[in-house]
């Protein structure tokens, strides 16, 4: 006899958080962005947030597409400008929890100045920066995060520029919470995202992710899973490590952990206190 009470099987364990009508997604097999999205979804699940009060903003690039797959109010904006767009949303409606998810090229290169100043102002945003060391969607060009002397399509003789150290940039600019994990540190990454989202102010979580399409192929590093495993196996957890030690050398040790967790008044708190102080 047919059981009419069988619960409709879920297409995905996180289907209430994802836009299932947009699956399959565009990311390549072996890419780490999916891990970051899973960790984020897991974090949302654990946080038990009212998802109506959550907003995801992305810039442009592979990670820039994340906003399109999360089933909350979500904005896919312009290249590098997710942070100022998110700033407008957060200040326009302070009840919103606003998360920026974007790539290293988007956040640190074209959007570098916005990153610096949103951190300085301590706008209450969480930034998840998926760092794959390369511009992937545009075809494997050298990025501000490309380690020396990695090959890219635009550094055929190896990259000679000093790469950005994302946690150091975040700390120096004023971020109140800074952590870094690789794409395989799923549990730790999830808990860092939870911490970051609960922390009032500008929080940054960097996710070291393989680019299986360009970075691995050009540098002959195997497939995405090989790289993911390499990053994981070669990572060393050092909580509280001074951020100037966090440079990432080519295929060497990667220091991960929580590096910054401090208190500073957010932009909105500072403004309110200022207005009160002035009798405003």
């Amino acid at each position: 006899m047919a059981n009419t009470n069988i619960k409709k099987e879920k297409l995905h364990p996180m289907e209430n958080l994802l836009r299932m009508d947009r699956i399959p997604h565009i990311w390549c097999p072996g890419c780490g962005i999916g891990n970051a999205v899973s960790a984020f979804a897991e974090a949302l699940d654990k946080l038990e947030l009212n998802l109506d009060q959550l907003c995801v903003v992305s810039g442009i690039g592979c990670t820039g597409r994340v906003a399109g797959y999360i089933k909350v109010d979500s904005f896919h904006t312009t290249h590098g400008r997710a942070i100022p767009y998110a700033t407008g949303i957060k200040l326009g409606n302070p009840k919103m929890k606003v998360v920026v998810i974007s790539g290293d090229g988007d956040l640190v290169s074209i959007g570098g100045n916005h990153f610096v100043h949103a951190a300085r102002r301590n706008i209450d945003l969480t930034v998840i920066c998926v760092n794959n060391f390369i511009y992937a969607m545009t075809g494997g060009q050298v990025a501000p995060t490309t380690p020396t002397p990695a090959y890219t399509t635009t550094s055929p003789f190896g990259n000679f520029e000093t790469p950005s150290n994302v946690p150091q940039l975040a700390e120096a600019s004023g971020a109140v919470y800074v952590a870094r994990w690789t794409a395989l540190h799923m549990r730790r990454l999830t808990y860092s995202i939870i911490d970051a989202m609960q922390k009032p102010g500008f929080s940054v979580v960097e996710v070291i992710s393989p680019c299986a399409m360009y970075y691995s192929r050009i540098n002959r590093l195997g497939d995405g899973l090989d790289m993911m495993k390499f990053y994981y196996d070669n990572s060393v957890i050092k909580h509280g490590e001074p951020t100037d030690n966090l440079e990432i050398d080519y295929q060497k040790e990667i220091i991960v952990g929580k590096f910054v967790d401090r208190e500073r008044p957010t932009f909105s708190d500072a403004l309110q206190n200022w207005l009160k102080g002035k009798g405003g």
Partner: protein
């Protein structure tokens, strides 16, 4: 009205054009101003800064003009009426987000206090050199609405109108003005708040699961909006998108998406376009003017009329969309158009195009040292009617 506190200082005040602009914005319910400091637009911010805490508003100095307009667009999706102010070089930086504002159909107001250009130009000189930048500054096909005030009172009125149009048509609206108007001080009348009419964006009221951020088949081609946190969990993207706001990159979707955005303005040009005609009924020569230059044009008409020259003035309060029909209609009746501009010929090109050879079009470079005088216009009026 949603999330906006109207703060109207009714009565007569002596204000500069900049101050009038800030008061116009406050009267229209503007509660978010994101900007980057640049001369000569800054007096607008100063006035707003004195008042924003009274209206529960947000004022933020961003790190550049790119981010200033990005923040304004973000704020607009929270239901706030939002504005930014800038000038030529800053306006150039905003071009990218004018495109995003158009594509995401986000209401907002951008005030461009034009200076001489290109590049840094002469920051303190009045200019009209951004007229084409206002029209075509961002890439891609789009229509823009741009208004051009000619006095502080007009600045107040048109700022309110700009918010109204941006809300109604769900699009960014530009106010193209200049230092002459912005620094001029005169008595302006601020009406009672009940007499100020500002359109409100069309909000979606149907079932949540049926909401389409870019619905195609509305009568007015303007899809209803929702705010963040309303529970619709919508997605929007600057990529070519379907009704759901999802990226779909094919020619068919480009047509449905972008053609509608263009048509939602083109079909309603008669509602949007605002012009003022002075003695055009029997005119043989018509000056087409806008902004501060329109005051000099009106003086010129007044003076040559005394000498029996049948001159008239067509003042464009709305620079974009351009009154194509009106120009052609006049061209069939008159012999000559004169287009004085504080640039080397921008609206002139439009007048000449729209006249379709029915009347001659003469350009007059009415540069900043001539602003406030009508002599060069009078001289040309006499020359073409000889």
């Amino acid at each position: 009205m949603k999330n906006s506190n109207i703060s109207v200082q009714s009565g007569t005040h002596t204000l500069t054009g900049c101050q009038a602009c800030a008061e116009g914005a406050l009267s229209a319910g503007c509660s978010f101003l994101g900007y980057y400091p640049i001369h000569p637009s800054f007096d607008i911010v100063e006035r707003y800064a004195e008042r924003f805490s009274d209206v529960d508003g947000v004022l933020i100095q961003m790190e550049d003009e790119v981010s200033a307009l990005a923040a304004v667009l973000g704020a607009s999706w929270t239901g706030k009426r939002a504005m930014t102010v800038t000038t030529g070089t800053g306006f150039a930086q905003m071009a990218e987000h004018i495109g995003l504002g158009i594509m995401l159909e986000t209401p907002c107001v951008i005030v461009d206090v034009q200076r001489d250009g290109p590049s840094e130009g002469i920051p303190c000189n009045p200019g009209a050199s951004d007229i084409m930048q206002a029209r075509w500054g961002s890439h891609g096909d789009y229509e823009i609405i741009a208004l051009s005030p000619n006095s502080p009172q007009d600045m107040y009125d048109l700022t309110i109108k700009a918010f109204s149009l941006s809300e109604k048509y769900r699009t960014p609206v530009v106010i193209v003005t200049d230092t002459d108007i912005c620094n001029k001080k005169e008595k302006i009348n601020i009406p009672d708040s009940k007499d100020i009419k500002v359109s409100t964006r069309k909000y979606y009221k149907g079932k949540k699961e049926n909401y389409l951020p870019f619905q195609y088949d509305t009568k007015d081609l303007i899809p209803p909006m929702v705010d963040v946190m309303d529970g619709y969990r919508f997605h929007v993207t600057g990529l070519t998108h379907d009704e759901r706001g999802y990226p779909v990159m094919n020619d068919e979707c480009q047509e449905l998406n972008v053609h509608r955005i263009v048509q939602k303005i083109r079909l309603f040009v008669d509602d949007i376009i605002d012009i003022e005609e002075e003695k055009t009924d029997d005119a043989e020569v018509v000056i087409v003017s806008y902004g501060t230059t329109s005051n000099d044009a009106l003086n010129a008409v007044k003076q040559v009329r005394k000498e029996g020259i049948k001159a008239g003035n067509l003042r464009l309060k709305t620079v974009w969309p351009f009154p194509e029909k009106k120009i052609l209609e006049l061209a069939k009746k008159i012999d000559n158009f004169i287009v004085p501009e504080i640039n080397y010929g921008q609206i002139y090109l439009e007048v000449e195009r729209c006249a379709r050879g029915e009347a001659k079009t003469h350009f007059l470079h009415h540069d900043s040292k001539k602003v406030g005088t009508a002599e060069d216009i009078i001289k040309l009026l006499k020359k073409v009617t000889k």
